[in-house]
Amino acid sequence: MSARQWTRDLAMGARFAFAGGREGWVRALLTAVGVGLGVALLLLTTALPNALAERDRREEARFDHTFVHKVVPEADDTLVIVDVDTTYLDEDVRGRLVEPDGPEAPLPPGLGEFPAAGTMVVSPALEELLDSDRGELLRERLPYDVVGTIGEQGLVGSQELAYYAGAEGLAERIDGSTAARIDAFGDPDPTEEETDPVLVLLVLVVFVVLLMPVAVFIAAAVRFGGERRDRRLAALRLVGSDSRATRRIAAGEALAGASLGLVLGTGFFLAGREVAASFEVFGVSVFPSYLNPSPLLVLLVAVTVPAAAVLVTLLALRGVVIEPLGVVRTARPARRRLWWRLLLPLAGVGMLTPMIGQGRENGDFNQYLVVGGVICLLVGVTALLPWVVETVVARLGAGGLSWQLAVRRLQLSSGAAARMVNGIAVAVAGAIALQMLFAGVESDYTEATGYDVSRAQMQVRVPEGTELAAAATKLEETEGVRRVHALSEGYLYDTPPPKEPENGALLTVGDCATLREVAKLPDCRDGDAFALRGGDYDEGTAALNEPGRKLYLETSGSSGPGAVVWTLPEGVRQADSIEDPTGNKRNGFLMTPGAMPAGLAEEVSGELYLAIDDSVPYVHEHVRNAAAAIDPTAQPMTWYATERSDRYESIRTGLSVGATAVLALIGASLLVSQLEQLRERRKLLSSLVAFGTRRRTLSLSVLWQTAIPIGLGLLLASAVGVTLGAVLLRMTATSVRVDWPSVLQMTGIGAAVVVVVTLLSLPPLLRMMRPDGLRTE
């Protein structure tokens, strides 16, 4: 076969793809849109790793290591920076106070110059928020004038909320945790974060699960307009084209559609990239420029998609004899055999089995086996489904008329029906497996925090050197705050620095009412002190509790080391430690304010435990505002009884969104093929209406026609999904538990797709049932 002949036939096919008037165009466009959507999704997926890497790079570049205990002497090229992150309406706001020590001070990425004291430079998203009504309470908290915006290279996402505010006198805040003096931004020795093998497994599976249906979808899209094309091919045979040439021409048609699809897909991708920038998903947003797929992957997509289109077309024509007078499907296709269809899922399970019980301790999973196994299992769905549909439909018995019409149609073309729902089945199976895996793994990551949220719901850490009582009063006056317990904490050593202490104990200062939250006190008056008994990790409280013993408070601030000394008085009574609101049993000593020695108040950091009234709107924001007014670095925490790894939560939500998007995409293609099928039957529908068929009967039959294969597909998908999920759970050494809510959720979404497709195809159906279809003249 000469190459020239090939090109000629392919070119002719390409011409046919767009010729044929409006119908031809519409068909070609549908194919192209279908393929294009798939391509766009592929490109987006291939671009995602790059985007995340770019985020990491930028995150690293602005790293300011405030919590590094490295003393940088003040110089012309140093900068004092204070971490003042806050939360506003459940969104994180990255905040930094900066004070350059000299003209050479390092500028944070994205800033042109340092903001003067009392002014700030903000990210565009924060600026927008501050300008909006929604930002009203945040404006109170950030009492700085906006003088500029942070450039893109200083932000990790388009929707990130961030600001740098100028301040004075920051040096005294340097404490090795939230404030530091630095001479450069960026992580000097970036450490490769050890990725959790289970997490890698999850990400791998997510990719496979989301991309598989796209592949199935592309395969379906190139078959749009099949019946009309068959007729055209027959006409070509009539005028003398041989059977092989005809197939090449058909391949050319598919190629043309797929190529146009590539172009459209690129367009969709570029448009989607811009749109993506205006979205924030799970606190992560990206800049369009992040979404750059690697050239190799782009090349791969550009080659495989058209190649797949040609391949699918040739495969589809395999069982078809194109005769000059029409297309003959090989009369009775051989009954579908089960055994080889079972091979695929079995092979998939086989590939995954060796890794069962590996867990996260035994190193990385074999990525090839994981991907191969999951693909085999999911492709197994597409292999099994036609057999299942054929077998079940052949046994479906009598029923109402609409049922009969649908069943008969399915019996005649169960393959086509199965093809239609393959994509949905694969997507649902994959999603169920993943949701199961997440649900299982997540329970590992969801931990009880120990916080007793019935006693306090928020905690405000007040930096050392702040008047705790005043702060408590201030917070008590805040709207929505019911009660404030103020506790100061310090640490006592048995020897003064710089000598190495042998023993130490925690010191907790608070009024009697507050101390009763942490210990059972016999009786208490201001001036009392207690030694705790039965605390966690208690090393030496009892040993230290000797009247007359001098204990030295750990200090860091302005007063020198060992400046604060507490001499244990007579009559320090024992008290039993109880769980405090944070869920800990404290050890060490309790002290009422009246017992405080000189200078102690300035050297202990304060904790305020707040009981708040949740019914007050924005109560958390009011508290945060009040805390910020006390000190910008005061960071209120909201307590939750449990905490789960938000990493998994976000992936899980992402999976739901992705699966829903894929299902919607497949639903669109279902709709297209459904409408096409209806168009082919216009005359028949009209004549059925002519002899009085109720529209309801026909509509119901259309519903059954979609619902039966999809129902079967969902059943199979659930079975395969649960199997895959179980295997994956075993692989991660997690106990196997079927996550029924997600099974229901995914099958529910699948079912919703059917209903929506049916509803959307009803108006055209009703239109087609008008008698105009009978007109031949």
């Binding site: 008329l401 008969r408 209406v689 002519a690 002899f691 009085g692 068929t693 008698p771 105009d772 007109r775």
Partner: protein, 239 residues
Amino acid sequence: MTSVTSVSATPSVPAGTLLAARDLRKAYGPTTALDGAAFSIHPGEVVAVMGPSGSGKSTLLHCLAGIVTPDSGSITYNGRELTAMNDAGRSALRRSEFGFVFQFGQLVPELTCVENVALPLRLNGTPRKEAERAALTWLERLEVDDVRKKRPGEVSGGQGQRVAVARSLVTGPRVVFADEPTGALDSLNGERVMELLTDAARSTNAAVVLVTHEARVAAYSDREIVVRDGKSRDMERVV
């Protein structure tokens, strides 16, 4: 066979008429399909509607059968005004009182022949078994009971059309509407179908409205009306 003639000069419906229409007008966009057509048929009568292509024959049939609503004019069936009925009413009428045979594209390709014939009965709520039993007797009458298990795609054009005729008669309709019922058949098959159709219709005293442009098919009628440019001409009144 001669027809029962009861020509009346008045525009009112003559006595004994089963289905009558007068002054029908119907336009599809700018195209006028019917422009004052009239029609009448008695029980047991076979009336051919003739005329050149595009003359409005099919539109007349569609109007008479209640498939299409005319823009103006009146159609009475058994004393009821068709144009005053809603779609559900007309559909019910078509289901129970009318039968239809078209040129092609009318058999449901997925259903077997016997199921296709049983279809109108099932639309009326007859249980499946019973409907298929009745369908089988009609297939026998039309000499195609041997294809009952086959699907329309597997039978010849002549057999398919006989199945269609069987289907049009299975509900025992009062009027059978046949739109070029032999259009896709050779003359031998076409004539056989016409014979079977008219014989069966006569035996059940059903009226047949037969749209055709073929004289040899029209010859199976009792009388003919000619439609030209949307106007009808009842030849019975002329001669």
